[in-house]
Amino acid sequence: MPWNFLDYVDPGGQNAIKLWLDSLPTKVKARINTRLQHLAGLDVLSDTRYTEKLSGKYSNLIEIKIEANNVQYRPLAFYGPERWQITILFPAEERSDRFEPPGACDTALRRRIEVQAEPEKRTCAHDYS
């Protein structure tokens, strides 16, 4: 089934994911956007090569695994708010088996709650520009 990626929109109305992508080198940005396009086409997103569900109190979150320029990008996301949607919540990285910055998962969880409370306001379609 085809998936739709959404971006988290902060309380000020800014697309936080777009801001992050725009801060990255062009090639990295192209890699991430292309990854999302391919993931969107998969029937099932259970392959841990591409995404992985987090555990414990963060089990509602998934990490999207992308490596570029020796950086392990791990945008944190969740399935929702509607079926076949995945909302990208926070642009984490993985270093030495830990997410950076510290608190990335908590921030993502908090944002997930915000999105669920106001899905129309706090998400927008992923911006590929």
Partner: protein, 238 residues
Amino acid sequence: MKYKRNPKREHAHMTTAREQIVSSLGDKEYRDAFVSEHISQGTAFQIRTTRKERGWSQAELARRAEMKQARISELENPDYECATLSTLKRLASALDVALSVRFVPFSKLVDYSLGISQTDLAVPNFDNDAGLEAAPSATWNNVQVVFNDYLSDLAHTALPSEAHPDVRYTTRGDLSFTTSPTVIAGMASKQPLESFADLWTKEFGTKPNVVPMTSWTTKRTVLTSDPLSGGIPEEVAS
């Protein structure tokens, strides 16, 4: 609970996605990266998805391609960028699929990128390639129709919001939907898509044109049109 589509919201997504990508391609560096990533990630996703569809382990594909398993693992890594053409040819042979290397206009790649589906990634082998069967005649077969931004809006206007048993379509934002023979026949007979057909005809002065196919995976009909240039159906191989 049934998922209720929100055409307006989906349309908002789709109407901008293509424009966003096209806008990004204005930057030469992004343009080159876009092409590079679609080659490396596209082949990696295809190798892995096709292998899994066959039920093969990496070791099995490695044996068939006379490579090491570790090499297959590398080639399935979408962040790996060093697959050579000769390697891809060996894998094509091992998977018994064709390999098409062509220079194309950016618009082709953009439209492909917006409609990537499981059937693009899991490629049937020669023996299962329904597209090789005799050309379809009067019988409508499976057809995938991909609409661009503007036309998808028309489609959303016309399509029922709940799936009908005979109407097998899926949406990807506003990007595409896949129809069954019944739908296409419906287009021709103006049932159940009469409003779509009418809208199309009013807008472009021609009836919607679709091409019967023998498989979901072999080809698609991309209806690329915009209100300014008029509707020119274009068939592309996927």
